[in-house]
């Protein structure tokens, strides 16, 4: 039996498709992101395989050595900061019960499916989602270093907005001077500390910590190091501070999501 040929004019075809595109555009992101998560989940294996090829091409020395070194450095920095905080608290003799950063927290280890780290975007898709207790706003660690927060969740996948993403803003403090400020992503694996007066003493190499946030993080954890510190050209009374993460987020193969007070 001959197939019935449906004739649609080009103008009509364009109109209908454009209408579909506009509907897609104005549908809330919370609904349409299911398509993106579905793609990441269905094609998880080829995406991970492609990413491992890309990582292998970049690799110059055994990655495990680099990872272990970075991991230990971040761990030592976190312990140092914790110790410093403990000293402060002992001095105050407040008598209140203190909690360590991960006390009562559950770390959900997740594989990285795709990583997009460039000038305009810093994002990971991981293979853990709402079914594993992952929720929006939770902190994500890579090699004991805060690399970002959960921005969107699906049932079995989630998106991590890296601290270097231009839309990311996170409260931080510079360890040596104990100043709290907002750090905004600047793309290309770096971030900027905003509105810091030149009265404060900041130098290259100073460690930067994510501030504790009730319900999400119970203690300060390292986020990166100051790699550039110069006078802001537009506002000479302020610093122009560049921060880079203590680990290379592009080469991370797995991360840990911090879930405080899990339901069990």
């Amino acid at each position: 039996m001959a197939r019935k040929q449906i004739k649609v004019s080009r103008r009509m075809l364009f109109t209908w498709f454009m209408l579909g595109g506009l509907i897609l555009l104005f549908t809330p992101h919370s609904l349409t992101n299911k398509l993106q998560f579905g793609f990441a989940r269905v094609f998880r294996w080829p995406l991970s395989f492609g990413r491992s090829i890309s990582l292998a091409a970049h690799r110059q020395q055994p990655l495990t050595d680099k990872l272990t070194e970075a991991q230990y450095q971040n761990y030592i920095a976190n312990l140092g900061e914790e110790l410093r905080q403990e000293h402060q608290k002992v001095e105050k003799l407040s008598g209140l019960r203190n909690r360590r950063a991960f006390e009562g927290a559950k770390l959900v280890v997740a594989d990285v499916i795709t990583a997009t780290v460039n000038d305009s975007k810093g994002e990971l898709i991981i293979n853990r989602g709402q079914d594993d207790g992952v929720a929006r706003g939770q902190y994500v660690l890579g090699l004991n270093n805060v690399i970002g927060t959960i921005s969107e969740t699906g049932s079995r996948t989630a998106k991590v907005k890296l601290v270097t993403d231009p839309t990311s803003k996170i409260e931080i403090k510079i360890a040596e001077s104990n100043i709290k400020r907002i750090m905004q992503g600047a793309g290309n694996n770096s971030a900027k500390i905003l509105l810091l007066s030149k009265e404060h003493r900041v130098k290259t190499g100073d460690r930067v910590f994510a501030c504790k946030k009730p319900g999400l993080l119970d203690g300060a954890l390292i986020i990166g190091k100051v790699t550039g510190c110069k006078t802001d050209e537009e506002h000479p009374l302020l610093w122009d501070i560049t921060v880079e993460p203590s680990c290379n987020t592009e080469t991370l193969e797995d991360v840990a999501v911090v879930i405080m007070n899990p339901q069990q």
């Binding site: 364009f14 498709f17 506009l22 555009l25 992101h29 995406l47 492609g50 000038d119 793309g187 290309n188």
Partner: protein, 161 residues
């Protein structure tokens, strides 16, 4: 048009773009190169369908749904109509078509993403779009031959619709 081959081809390109090329600082936009390829070597109706389909796939691997469907669909269709008047056969013309389409489609997609609220205004975006356009224009014409082989399209047979 072999639609099954087209589907597989676009899927492979999307996976390559989202995995292998995602780790590179300097990268061409494979999906946009294919958009220009289909706009040049297919008839106008097929070019409209492929442009929107490629835009949809670009959205799936992008940050929000919609911006690339609209911008790729619009500029793919315009290119297909332009191709009816001006033949884009030689490699320099193909490079120029890729460069201009990438600049325009990239800018519109960025503005629509901003409109949707999933992106912030950032000075680096302009540079990213420019360099992506340039690399796509350099690499693109060389991908046309393998694309034509896979899609069983005879690039020598060329007729204005």
């Amino acid at each position: 048009m072999r639609w099954l081959r087209f589907g597989v081809f676009i899927l492979i390109a999307a996976i390559l773009q989202a995995s292998v090329l995602a780790g590179l600082n300097i990268k061409p936009d494979l999906l946009l190169v294919l958009l220009v390829f289909f706009a040049v070597y297919c008839n106008t109706a097929e070019a409209i369908i492929t442009s929107f389909a490629i835009g949809f796939v670009a959205d799936i691997i992008g940050s929000a749904m919609g911006p690339y469907t609209v911008s790729f669909g619009l500029f793919g269709t315009l290119l297909a109509y332009l191709h009816r008047a001006v033949a884009i056969r030689k490699m320099p013309y193909q490079s120029a078509a890729i460069f201009i389409t990438c600049l325009l489609a990239g800018t519109l997609a960025y503005l629509l993403t901003f409109l949707k609220g999933t992106s912030a205004v950032h000075s680096v975006h302009g540079a990213v779009i420019f360099w992506t356009s340039l690399y796509s224009a350099i690499v693109g014409p060389f991908l046309f031959l393998p694309s034509a082989w896979w899609m069983h399209i005879n690039t020598h047979r060329f007729s204005h619709q």
